[in-house]
Subunit: 209 residues, 4 copies
DNA sequence: TATGAATGAGCCTTCATTCAT
DNA sequence: CATGAATGAAGGCTCATTCAT
């Protein structure tokens, strides 16, 4: 980062534009490099492949994202069993500004990672993030009385939830808007899932009687 | 449809397989046609381009989808002002089996449209469907006391909602599962959005006092 | 073979020329095809790769060569133990015209296989042919009283022998010359190896006394 | 040699490794130089081209080889006419240790010259060495009663002979093994060629009678 | 109707070499 | 002495499309 030459910066900037517009796969290295004012030979002096170029653009942000997300999930999971629901505020809401800061500070990279990465190793990163965090949270849910929910349905909802967060992250929102939107979305999913769980239990109660 | 020759049918079947596996852009016309047992020349006798081939595969289903969705939305919007909430059952839940039938009957096409259409005019169809229906429903929301919600937040949630429906539609679920999942998801979003709206009003009330 | 189009023939002829002059690896597909009067696209309509082009040129001859060589070796090995030396004439000399016919009939292909195939699966074919036949003949040698010879030295000589045959095969000799040269070379190696074996035994005899 | 800088030595060592592994043509100058810990610019300060680098590696050894070979051939040729056969021991066998010393002392270079030099001016050096020495020895043969042999056949055999010596030289043999193998091979070719010559004369005698 | 021959632009990548600093 | 930026030609290969037959 510190020692990128002007050439590299020109190439990176051009690459960012092209990847953003066409996605990794469809973007032409030829045009990226020409657009930056250089030849392909020059490019390969800096990067070993097209994919490495993409990587140079987003690797740091990708790691940062995983870290921030993991930290939040871990923070919540760190509370003693049974006390997690009541700590939701500290565990999650209180961390949103931090997350928003990260997002606003790396928005372009996040867009690349989350929606232009087909053909790279970042493809499906969101899905795996969801899968990962979902599995870590699942046992918690059981204790919260949400055990009645079909795990597949839960996964569906988590996908929607994370997908919406991703949409917020890649949107054009200011920092405070990011916080507000994420808080709202959290409220919706939390209340919604709770309502579904209660309805289920009610239905089961009726079936039993 | 009525007058598709055996050749066309072979090509369409092969195309469906290839588009499904690689997506529109990455699928090779060469291989599609060869796999169907014909040559490229034959293909261009029936279709003017690769995109037109994709179109032939999904146009009908795409229209049908828009129609079904529009019909449900319109049905709901058709009730007199103020009575819509209480008619949610008839307007929406009651129509789910119908939607599920459509989905199960056109699942492969829907998969093509919703997740393999990059590079075609169907790319982003879901988004426009959301946009479309959201706009028609928006005025209704005002009357339901949800006016406090930021329209953009609402759009975000609708995107999540429709996105989840799409995921269900393109999943491997049986007809009844489709209905059940969609009902559950509807419950979650409905209750969730309501909770958010109330929270807002509560917050505003507090602010006032 | 039977149904090669004029285009293919032009490409094959051009390829033969280029491979012959530069070897497989250094020959440029670009130039081969251009020299034949076509574009690269046309080429790939007929062959899947550069290597397949080489293969089309020499596969048949390569198989034929292996068969002829194998047949001769097998013929010799087919005689009862101990009688092989006296059958050398029938087993080997008598088959030379047959071998020469094959060589003269496939000379260009043999040149390709034996000395222009670096980078293809034919690379090292001669060496493996030597290894193969050497192993089958080795036990025979023991019975002929040549057991005193270091196997590695024997292998060295077999390499020289087969290498010379290959040189004759790829030379500019007429059929009868091929036969005559091969017969001469056979005489040289046979007598030479016998002389070496006897010298060894003599030396061992002296050591013992 | 005397004034090679540490940089040159590093490059030469790296080059030797790469040429040995991939051959001159396929070795990448880029990697050679990088492997040596320098840049291409540094390289071109010392050598004008890739080929010149190869040359720097093997020129001395190549000359030494030609000299040793020439000296041996000349030594033999130096005896009075008619006495050469009886001096074979002093002229050739006695010089083998000297040759073996040279080989063992320059084995890596010889490998480069004899089997990794495709694309350089050393390509075909063995052949020209053979040609050279063969021509000087040919008149001798006439006097030895080998005049009946077709000169081309003789050339073929000399190629085989020298080729085998080269194989020994580039093998993994210890000094004494080199001497022993070369002596054995010499015995084989000498006895073999003599046998062929006699057979010829016998055949001619029969024809005459 | 269908073939199949052919195009030509494009793909990503590698290479030996030059040259200002 | 050595760097490192840059070139430009070439490498093998894929693609959607055209068109005479």
């Amino acid at each position: 980062m510190a020692d990128t030459t002007a050439t590299q910066q020109a190439i990176l900037a051009s690459a960012r534009r092209h990847f953003m517009e066409h996605g990794f796969k469809s973007a032409s290295l030829n045009r990226i490099v020409a657009d930056a004012g250089f030849t392909k030979g020059a490019f390969y002096g800096y990067y070993a492949s097209k994919e490495e170029l993409f990587d140079a653009l987003v690797a740091q942000t990708s790691q940062g994202l995983a870290q921030v997300m993991g930290s939040i999930t871990a923070g919540w999971a760190g509370y003693p069993e049974g006390e997690q629901p009541e700590h939701l505020d500290e565990a999650f809401f209180a961390r949103l500004p931090e997350l928003a800061d990260f997002i606003v500070g790396h928005r372009d990279d996040l867009r690349l990672i989350l929606s232009r990465s087909e053909g790279t190793r970042y493809e499906g990163l969101l899905e795996s993030l969801v899968e990962n965090n979902t599995q870590r949270i699942e046992p918690m849910l059981a204790r919260m009385g949400l055990s009645g929910m079909d795990p597949d349905t839960y996964r569906l909802l988590m996908n929607a939830y994370y997908g919406t967060l991703a949409r917020i992250a890649t949107g054009d929102y200011a920092r405070d808007q990011v916080v507000a939107k994420m808080r709202d979305v959290q409220v919706v999913f939390q209340a919604g899932i709770l309502a579904l769980a209660q309805r289920r239990q009610g239905a089961q109660g009726q079936e039993r009687s």
